[in-house]
């Protein structure tokens, strides 16, 4: 291996490590967001039952609405991740593999 090949390999490794760190930041950030939403809901169940029993309309309690919204929040976070992964992460990986970065 000559010097320039070594350089290329080293810069490839650096680019990959940077992207790896970025991926973990996004993943852990989204994980924490999901945990805050879900445990927020659980803590309300645990410590403020009357609030969740408040009726917003006949038949619709705050608890049922928030429960359904937790499921919707899971979908939204997954959508955010898929967008990021398809539009950014996959392209960066392809560039690194092609030796462009």
């Amino acid at each position: 291996m000559d010097a320039s090949e070594n350089d290329r390999a080293a810069s490839r490794t650096r680019a990959l490590t940077a992207l790896a760190n970025e991926r973990w930041r996004v993943s852990l950030g989204l994980t924490i967001a999901m945990m805050v939403i879900y445990f927020g809901f659980i803590l309300l169940i645990a410590y403020n039952k009357p609030l969740l029993g408040t009726l917003l309309a006949p038949g619709l309690s705050l608890g049922i609405l928030l429960g359904a919204l937790v499921i919707v929040a899971a979908w939204v976070l997954i959508y955010v991740y898929i967008r990021w992964a398809n539009n950014y992460y996959d392209r960066r990986i392809a560039k690194i593999q092609a030796g462009e970065l």
């Binding site: 790896a20 994980t31 659980i42 039952k49 029993g53 038949g59 499921i71 899971a74 979908w75 997954i78």
Partner: protein, 517 residues
């Protein structure tokens, strides 16, 4: 109201045999495609993201979800929904942290990932123990559920029902391996979603297609308390402990993790979690309708009269809405639901025994394909027989509770080691083994010391450990032990291997068909 549940129902039996005939046909076809271990454990990596999304749904939505949650909601209202939501929120965690790296790093089991840059023997032995503990608890829940269900639906003896489920499942898994298991799970997911949707639409048609009108009818009939949190989660710490186990347990369930090896690459793994989360989320939203529908249209007393736990709420609702034919269809769907989950569980347990223990520990990675397949099938048979025995021994146990415990063990034994092995350069063999063993043992011991075992089963006056679910203690402890033991030991080879792990997590290069050893 009068019901034909528990009596001979020719339509139910017809649907039931139709499903078995079709699924055995699929197994015959799959058996002809199964030529090596990659086919047997991972369907050759030829399942598409969309197909795997359906199969993941079929693998995950167990009888505890369909019958158990509908029953809990019908009897407790809002409290039952806590389970619906908890079972779903694990999926984003699987998506963000686990699915793609797992697909790129491993071959057949999640242990492949943990053991990747660590010493094979200790990690594989510890991890196989963790896997088998989770699989056993989960199998008990499914087999006990199957026995009760078939007894109630078809009027068969409990023991005979358990043997039938075990026998049919063994036929799928031994001959058809992952290919048959995948298609049984796909067929089941479609049937379950169709049955649930149909039930929900008919229920909603009685309330002007307005779910809020349905909830209102429930609160008029049984009081506004059914729409608010109540006595099912009385202790705040218990609620948090159960929540932690449900959320992190999904990412440690061996039969779910194994499914990511059936797709060709990480991108398909990502797509499969997306479809699974959408399908499972819709399903759990529909359980709101089914549960409250059964509460209003069947009534709590008739549901409790058939089964105290409420597990027959969904079939009873089907009978009220569509008579014998609909009851028969929903009964057969429930049966298919259990079979598909049991098949996935058995296959993942067999992979731990044969791929992790036999091939990589006993034979040190040197076993030819014929031997590996033979051992895999023998391990499947062993686990199938074990499932039947456990189902009969644990007759009468609470199904949803056992599933909650399986999630707690998965979240404590498997999830911390799996995450740390992919994320942390300093993680060592000793750290991994300590984390897995402490997670498994502490969660089992705390379950034994919990109110459920000490007070409800052993009839002692007070429990030694106050929480019903061990997750709040065992999950952080497993992380802490893994980190501390790793910091106290140094393992150059493990740290040096991290660059390769990182490279492979992201590029997937040389990921497929890599020789273990």
């Amino acid at each position: 109201m009068s019901t034909t549940l528990g009596q001979f129902n020719p339509l139910a039996i017809t649907f039931f045999f139709l499903f078995i005939a079709i699924s055995l046909g699929v197994t015959y076809w799959a058996a002809r495609q199964t030529k090596n271990t990659a086919h047997y454990y991972a369907a050759g990596g030829n399942i598409s993201g969309w197909q795997n999304g359906l199969a993941l749904s079929g693998d995950f939505m167990s009888a505890a979800s369909f019958l158990g949650i509908a029953g809990l909601v019908s009897l407790n209202g809002f409290d039952g929904l806590i389970y619906s939501i908890g079972f779903l929120v694990g999926w984003p965690i699987v998506m963000f942290l686990i699915a793609e790296p797992l697909r790129n790093l491993g071959k057949y089991t999640f242990t492949d990932v943990v053991a990747y840059r660590l010493k094979q023997t200790p990690v594989r032995v510890a991890s196989a123990l963790g896997t088998l503990a989770v699989v056993s608890f989960y199998l008990i829940a499914q087999m006990v559920g199957a026995g009760n269900l078939i007894k109630l639906l078809f009027g068969l003896e409990y023991e005979l029902a358990v043997v039938i489920v075990g026998g049919v499942m063994l036929a799928y898994v031994i001959f058809g391996g992952m290919i048959a298991t995948t298609w049984v799970q796909i067929i089941k997911a479609v049937l379950l979603m169709a049955g649930t949707l149909l039930l929900a639409i008919i229920v909603l048609s009685k309330f002007g297609f307005n779910p809020i009108a349905l909830f209102d009818a429930a609160s008029v009939k049984y009081g506004a308390t059914v729409l608010a949190p109540g006595k099912l989660v009385s202790d705040p710490l218990d609620a948090i402990s159960l929540g932690m186990s449900l959320m992190l347990g999904t990412a440690g369930l061996p039969h779910i993790l194994m499914r990511f090896y059936t797709v060709p690459n990480a991108k398909e793994a990502r797509i499969s979690v997306m479809y699974a989360t959408v399908i499972i989320g819709i399903f759990y939203l529909l359980t709101f309708i089914l549960g409250f529908g059964a509460m209003v249209l069947v009534g709590q007393d008739p549901i409790k009269a058939i089964d105290k736990g409420g597990n027959m709420a969904a079939p009873l609702l089907a009978e009220v809405l569509g008579g014998d034919a609909f009851l028969g269809f929903i009964a057969a769907v429930s049966f298919a639901t259990i079979l598909a989950v049991v098949a996935g569980l058995t296959l993942s347990g067999a992979a731990a025994l044969s791929h992790d223990l036999w091939v990589n520990v006993v034979r040190r990675g040197h076993a030819d394909e014929t031997e590996q397949l033979k051992v895999a099938r023998a391990a499947t048979l062993l686990l199938g027989v074990l499932a039947i025995v456990l189902g009969i021994v644990f007759k009468g146990q609470n199904v949803a509770y056992m599933v909650g415990l399986a999630f707690a063990i998965a979240a404590s034994a498997n999830f911390p080691a799996l995450l740390l092995s992919m994320l942390w350069r300093r993680f060592t063999t000793n750290g991994a083994v300590a984390s897995i063993l402490v997670g498994t043992i502490v969660s089992l011991v705390l379950i034994y010391l919990s109110p459920t075992v000490q007070v409800d089963i052993l009839k002692h006056s007070a429990p030694i450990f106050p929480l019903k679910n061990p997750g709040l203690v065992s999950i952080p402890l497993s992380f802490a032990v893994g980190i501390i033991v790793s910091l106290l030991t140094t393992e150059r080879a493990a740290a040096d291997g991290f660059d390769e792990v990182e490279h492979r997590i992201h590029t997937g290069e040389v990921g497929w068909g890599r020789d273990e050893g």
